[in-house]
């Protein structure tokens, strides 16, 4: 129960990774708000156990109202996880301006807005000497490119830089800021990548594609949302009190290797 007594907001909290983080935080004793566009999230599953907040992270009014609600119910916020994100599977030539803007609105502006309006509540949480923790979602794709994911790669690079900037600015206030950079994690987003227009798997079945992708990883598997929740749990806890401003790559060793030639 390393998060006992802490208050957490997880955006994208009813999606693949967000839902796993909410579940883990609750098991660790935190009071958890799952903020998402709707209560069933991208998995279209039943509501989870965490308290639901209806939130569109691209709307400043909406973000402000949600943080006001947290303030009136809890008076402080110890943990903010910015897990809401979208992925457009296109090259820049095929990406419309609207799709580009929407990618940045959710992945970058959303992180900016929720963090901005959470800060006053997080300062209060940090007053007692324990640090407050913001966890952003970067990506393996913020370091190296996957083909046909141009806008996504660019937004994640922006989140990485924003993470370091926020850590510099708000560290003195007792607020730690880190980003988790997942590789391939079994979520609706990954399944869409296998079947989407941008990835192109020839005439192979999804099973064959999934096996091929697993085999490229040194650990011979891609991750689960629970793997990501394990790291989020640590970064949110007081055990991580000296961890800030870092980009934590969690990818089964994928990016440690040179391209895997089939020889």
């Amino acid at each position: 129960m390393i998060l006992k007594g802490k208050v957490a907001v997880v955006t994208g909290g009813r999606g693949g990774i967000g839902r796993a983080i909410c579940d883990r935080f609750e098991r660790e004793g935190a009071t958890v708000y799952a903020a998402d566009l709707d209560a069933s999230g991208s998995l279209g599953q039943p509501e989870g156990s965490a308290l639901f907040l209806k939130l569109d992270v691209t709307s400043e009014d909406n973000v402000r109202a949600v943080m006001d609600q947290v303030a009136s119910e809890q008076e402080r916020l110890d943990i903010l996880v910015n897990a809401a994100g979208i992925e457009i599977e296109k090259t820049i030539e095929d990406t419309s301006l609207e799709e580009w803007n929407q990618s940045f609105a959710v992945n970058v502006t959303g992180t900016f807005l929720t963090s901005k309006y959470a800060l006053p509540l997080m300062r209060k949480a940090a007053l007692g000497g324990a640090s407050a923790s913001i966890i952003n979602f970067g990506s393996y794709d913020g370091f190296i490119a996957d083909p046909g994911l141009a806008a996504y790669c660019a937004t994640k690079g922006a989140v990485h830089a924003l993470t370091r900037a926020m850590a510099c600015d708000h560290g003195p206030e007792g607020i730690r800021v880190n980003a988790i950079c997942p590789g391939y994690v079994d979520t609706p987003m990954l399944q869409s990548f296998f079947t989407g227009d941008g990835s192109g798997g020839g005439d192979q079945s999804i099973d064959q594609l999934q096996k091929a992708v697993r085999d490229v990883h040194p650990m011979r598997t891609y991750g689960t949302p629970e793997d990501i929740a394990n790291l989020a749990n640590w970064l949110a806890s007081d055990e991580a009190r000296y961890a800030s401003g870092q980009l934590w790559v969690l990818d089964g060793g994928l990016s440690a290797q040179v391209q895997q030639m089939r020889l």
Binding site: A145, V216, Q259, R262, L263
Partner: protein, 246 residues
Amino acid sequence: MRLAKKKALVTGGRQGIGRGIVDAFLGEGAQVWTCGRGARPEDLPDVVGWMQADVSQVEAVETLAEGLDTLDVLVNNAGVQVEKTVVDSTDKEWDTVVGANCRGVFNTCRALIPKMNSGGAIINIGSISGHVADPGMALYNASKAFVHGLTRSIAVDHGPRIRCNAICPGWINTGMLEAGFDLARDPAAARKDALLRHPVGRFGHPDDIAAMAVWLASDDASFATGQMFTVDGGMTAASPLNPGMF
């Protein structure tokens, strides 16, 4: 003639990337020396000075340094590769890889930095394998990371008198590459797969690395120091995971 009047030593200039750099430096007007463990290669142009030396041996490098009065450009290209994991590597292989790739660079830098003119440049050949691991090449990968670290240290300690940078080549077609493909179960498929992973659509050539070496050696690069310059046709900019290839 971007290297006119410059005196350059390129270690390991018998063949491959080293020879490509020797030829390019000559073309830009430099006075070039090169060295290797064996006798002077027959096809080496007469204007190039040959010194027989194993860079892993301190005495040999000191003798080599005595033969040079001053120097403007030092290219540490000599290196060896052992294709094994940590568990399979022998003590002798450790000595071979670390001797040539780590100690060799240290030996030449220690012996020659005092002889280098102000404004001089050291160019080390690092590798993309010093950033990310090639499977089954543990000591080689680690030795190249050493080269990257030493590059930064020399840049910091010996600036502003000397600049020091590293080039990190990707897959360069030196004959070893084709031999590797020939060993594959399906050589044609392996070649095609490897090519697909290069956004420029081809493998590298020693000239590609030599072109970067010329720039780093020239005064055009007078503000560049302490950096790793990757020349790999875009390979390491792309994810190794591209379902379109499977």
